[in-house]
Subunit: 284 residues, 2 copies
């Protein structure tokens, strides 16, 4: 199995090169450049039958998406028979339904386009796993739980794992079960467009380390609120692990100040992308 | 028939609003915005059965292409039954074949993706008209000749129309026939990667105005060479009309200095996009 890394996976390149062989895979080179007029150029410098194409679609997301189509086209032209697209962070995954009449279901358009070239589709921690139904072939929502658990195992010790809301309970549970720890979630109530009321969880955190896990972080407001509440409740250290670091301006600093450690996966390269998904991808 | 204008057609908006009714069409509003994380949002604010979606795909071309997919998705969701995509300038149209092993046929990927949402595809003056075969439904390569002829009719008078090379002969012919003028082309020979030798045309240009027409202009080097040659041959005024103004830095100024007038169509908005394609689009 060959591995092809797009522009949205170059930050994982060194680790892929170091570990691919352990998983029976080989990274093949690809030339990617941008012409002066802004058009992308891709060229596959290797051969094979099957390939995993890794391309996370963070900003500039549209460029990464088009490049993923071009890589698919180049690989088919090269004679590759079976292609897996691995998109650690899937752009447009929050535009998964029509909220106001006239809107697009943007993620549907993206998945349909990718299905023209890719036989299988893999993504991490999708906002709404039902979204995968828009990919008309085999599609899988991968969990980052192994990677998160591995990263925080030592630091957390005999702590607890929490979701910041009920929707994140399954995420908390997945990490907690790997580590053999307790888990629960906050009750979150939106009281205005800008303010959220959080109710303490039904779990004793006094003197314990706590890991809050979620799929996505933007302003980090919820995380800061949860962390402050946990301190009031007597928690020892508060850690935050989030899959996709779609940080708003200044959010990394604000959250980092409020917690003992903030870590996100490398689905998006950020200064706190300390949890690597590379081995999870190499298992595919 | 409804007309929807994407971000790549906003520079044509006023003219569409002014003239749509004359062609039995109606422009419907669309909300287009970009979220702070860079994702596009589109929303169709009108209803109908059939629509023409106008979206030229100049820089940022990948954003315009993804937006065109999203507009298609939103229109289908709205219940539109038949969609025509009009892409005055088609990005990636020069990547229409594999020159070096391992390359993508990028324009194929683009046209296949658009065919997921659009029943018909229209483009102006494609670099290689055979490219349309990659769109698996009805696809048409429109000529800007009417618009070019209309713009230069008065200025050119009893002049001649020339292509800068043999490949542009058909373009010169199309404009010349509308105006009832003579036409021909230069013989162009590439003598090094940076230099081109041009041979005077087999036509008498002494005392005549000359219009040179081509599909695309980038550095404008060929046009400047042709213009200088025509002056040596005794031409009166030299005009240049190009369909797609993909100008390199400083090219507009360099070409404008070498000729009496430079005009391109509004397939790409530039300071010299004086030839409008709007009426040609409204005829569809």
């Amino acid at each position: 199995m060959k591995v092809v890394l797009g522009s949205g996976a170059q930050h994982m390149r060194d680790e892929f090169l170091a570990k691919a062989k352990d998983y029976g895979k080989e990274v093949i080179e690809v030339e990617i450049k941008t012409f002066p007029d802004g058009e992308k150029y891709v060229r596959i410098l290797g051969d094979g039958e099957e390939a995993i194409v890794v391309q996370s679609t963070f900003k500039p997301q549209d460029e990464h998406l088009i490049e993923l189509l071009l890589l698919g086209d180049a690989l088919r032209e090269k004679g590759f028979k079976h292609l897996k697209a691995v998109v650690p962070y899937l752009a447009y995954s929050r535009q998964d339904r029509v909220t106001k009449d006239g809107e697009s279901i943007s993620v549907r358009a993206i998945l349909r386009a990718l299905s023209l070239y890719y036989d299988e589709f893999y993504v991490f921690d999708l906002h709404n796993p039902k979204t995968l139904e828009f990919f008309p072939k085999n599609a899988v929502n991968l969990s980052p739980a192994n990677a998160v658990a591995k990263y925080f195992k030592e630091k957390l010790g005999e702590g607890v794992v929490l979701g910041p809301d009920k929707g994140a309970l399954e995420r908390a549970k997945a990490v907690a079960e790997i580590l053999g720890l307790e888990f629960s979630h906050f009750e979150k109530k939106r009281i205005s467009p800008t303010e959220v009321q959080m109710t303490p969880v039904d779990i004793d955190v006094r003197g314990k380390n706590v890991l809050i896990v979620d799929d996505i972080i933007s302003t980090g407001g919820t995380m800061i609120k949860a962390a402050n509440l946990l301190r009031e409740m007597g928690a020892k250290k508060v850690f935050v692990a989030v899959t996709h670091g779609v940080f708003a301006e200044g959010a990394i600093e604000r959250v980092s100040k409020a917690v003992d450690e903030l870590a996100v996966t490398n689905s998006i390269p950020t200064p706190v992308s300390k949890i690597s998904l590379v081995e999870e991808i190499l298992k595919l």
